[in-house]
Symmetry: C2
DNA sequence: GGTAACATGTAAGCGGTTACATGATTAG
DNA sequence: CTAATCATGTAACCGCTTACATGTTACC
């Protein structure tokens, strides 16, 4: 079986096959609806990843076309379930990697005149407000899952919401004391 | 001058040359001390980036060895300053990209038994506590800069702190009601 | 005398995205 | 009839990291 080393995205695919997502297409869509806040994945990754996982014996796939539309569904094997748990419990560095152009721009905003700087800050606030609203909208679904025994999606969802609300709060605080951000206090 | 299109990391390099960072080494170090929370950059990026910016006429470099130790320092040109401001005010998509393995693991943690899931949650809380402490430690410096007219580094720093505190809060809330995360409430 | 910090750079490789290509089915 | 959605895949490219290579200076 000589399982090729799996990268995080492979584990995401492996993990999603246990949450109702059966085809590559569904996996991609489920990622978009659930962990998009802290992970993304593209179709060009999903399909090779599924092939890799099947080869390694962690998933078994079978063709399940609907009409003439091709379709292949996957199921996790015992080995696959074990591999996922091993990964989840493996204590390894979990580097926190955020790449946020908006933050970078904000950091350098002292190079702008106050009006432009203020506009940028407003954009950042708006972005987090929108994102928080989107996350709030899917909360009922996560709460339902929590009642059914899957509480962790709700946990990560709440972290996402808390994050964006924290950003909005800081934005508001600074927007109301603009003087402290510019060279001309009064 | 046919300025080759610049990517965000190029603008980071360009931006840092106005904040006291003069050599490639200093730029890398300054990034580490300031915007590491939402952007990173490696030496293998910095030096080619500097060459590119100089070629485009946005920076001028001159050799400034210290003793026999080679060293090249850069200054921003008027065109460079203008290019930075243009970028900062350019309204473009500012996608928010977080890739956080710890969050992914937490999302899938219902596949674990409660003990292991709890351990994972504790790890995430600890990580954010540490990160918040690190950011708190550099706050005085940012406050000093704010008094000198550069308020935006303090703003982004506070966002980083607020983020990690929000995560810690959510962790604590869920750690104290573990029953809601498992299938056996009582 | 040794380690850490200062300083600059190249080469190889990897993970990931964009764009492309193809085609079926469903809903309006 | 048309657009959106379902569904799977490949090829080219890009940004970035890791590892490597080299040498100096400061500090203990």
């Amino acid at each position: 079986m000589a399982s090729a080393t799996l990268n995080p995205s492979d584990y995401v695919v492996l993990g999603m096959t246990g949450l109702g997502a059966r085809s590559g297409y569904e996996i991609k869509r489920t990622v978009e609806l659930s962990i998009r806040f802290f992970w993304t994945i593209s179709p060009a990754q999903v399909y090779p990843s599924l092939a890799k996982l099947e080869k390694a014996g962690l998933l078994t796939g079978r063709d399940a076309p609907q009409g003439n539309r091709q379709r292949r569904v996957y199921e996790r094997t015992h080995e696959g379930a074990q591999a996922l748990r091993d990964w989840l419990t493996r204590s390894e560095a979990m580097p926190f990697e955020l790449r946020d152009i908006a933050m970078v721009k904000l950091f350098f905003a002292d190079a702008l005149d106050p009006t432009d700087a203020h506009r940028l800050l407003a954009q950042v606030r708006l972005r987090s407000e929108e994102r928080a609203a989107i996350l709030q909208a899917i909360r009922p679904e996560a709460e339902e899952a929590a009642h059914a025994g899957n509480g962790h999606p709700l946990l990560t969802l709440e972290m996402g919401i808390a994050y964006h609300q924290a950003i909005v709060n800081v934005c508001n605080r600074f927007e109301h004391q603009r003087g402290r951000l510019t060279r001309t206090p009064q």
